[in-house]
Amino acid sequence: MILSKLKQALICLLAGRVTLPYPAKPHPPDEGFRGYPEVDVDKCIGCGACAAVCPARLIKIEDLDQTTRRITRLLERCIFCGRCAEVCPEDAITMTRQFELASDQARQDLTHQCEIFMATCRRCGACYQPATPLDRIMQPGFRSDEIDRGGDLCQYENVCLESQQAENTTATVGEGE
């Protein structure tokens, strides 16, 4: 009995004092920690890949008009899995090491909203992101009814991918008949 109590006392004594000085001194997590997901709005192309993979379904995408896409992230529900950062084609999302997210107004403080300027598809009128940076500069996204450049346009200019595919399918079906 006494021997085992001594052994236990030894365990406690050998450990010494271990308490960290946090919060007086910072105790940041190591590299690779998944903290607050920061979005570089300039890099975001509004493709919505993050919204498609997010398990907590907190990224909402709405098209306000034909050139503006609003992306809202309700980070009060975020589970910090980092899937959005993983799938982002432009690396616009980084999982930072910021973990001190306490707030008295979570809904305001942890909601991230951005509006992305998109091009407009001439066929279906939906927002889409032009394929290359050059296209992005060249196509400031006028509404389709404002554009009238005649018949010398290349076939798929100002047309979103879905419309292109739809058109191709129709063409093939037509030939088959």
Binding site: L74, R77, E100, A102, S103, L110, T111, H112, Q113
Partner: protein, 162 residues
């Protein structure tokens, strides 16, 4: 004024009563972790108590499930005034990954008035300590609506179907 009074009264010793409102246990364990040697919240006078009648702060972890709503309301009434409610974890803050499930009512703020939110899944013990320090007014909060995060009208709730 009440806030001032709270700060004065709470500054020396915060007694917590911890509730699991339907959590997965992750946050609960981190709350206990805050009391163990490495973080030792007791050095700030923070203590977990066994009865809501002794508590100043109600710590809620987890999304509020249908079954716990009546029990949670009774718990809140049992805590004497002035009292704080702290929601720990993304489930308690906003319903988390299952916010739209049939058996989840939502975050804790759908049932009780929440004073502080500590986000994280689960929050690190440091984040919980930080949250308590923010509640005590020792530290400033690190998150704020940036220009880009600004909502059109803060009084309006976020224009999103939930």
């Amino acid at each position: 004024m009440l806030e001032e009074l709270c700060k004065k009264a709470f500054f020396k010793s915060l007694w917590l009563y911890h509730t699991n409102t339907g959590a997965c246990n992750g946050c609960d364990i981190e709350v206990i972790d805050v009391l163990t040697p490495y973080y030792d919240a007791e050095r700030f006078g923070i203590k977990l108590v066994g009865s809501p009648r002794h508590a100043d702060v109600l710590i809620c972890c987890g999304p509020v499930t249908r079954q716990v709503v009546p029990a949670l309301k009774r718990l809140y009434e049992a805590v004497p005034d002035p009292k704080l409610v702290v929601a720990v974890g993304s489930c308690a803050c906003g319903g988390g990954i299952w916010y739209d499930s049939y058996n989840i009512v939502g975050g804790v703020d759908t049932v009780l008035p929440v004073d502080y939110y500590i986000q994280g899944c689960p929050p690190r013990p440091e984040a919980i300590l930080h949250g308590v320090a923010v509640a005590l007014g020792l530290l400033d909060k690190q998150v704020a609506p940036e220009a880009l995060r600004q909502l059109p009208d803060s009084s309006e709730s976020v224009p999103i179907e939930d």
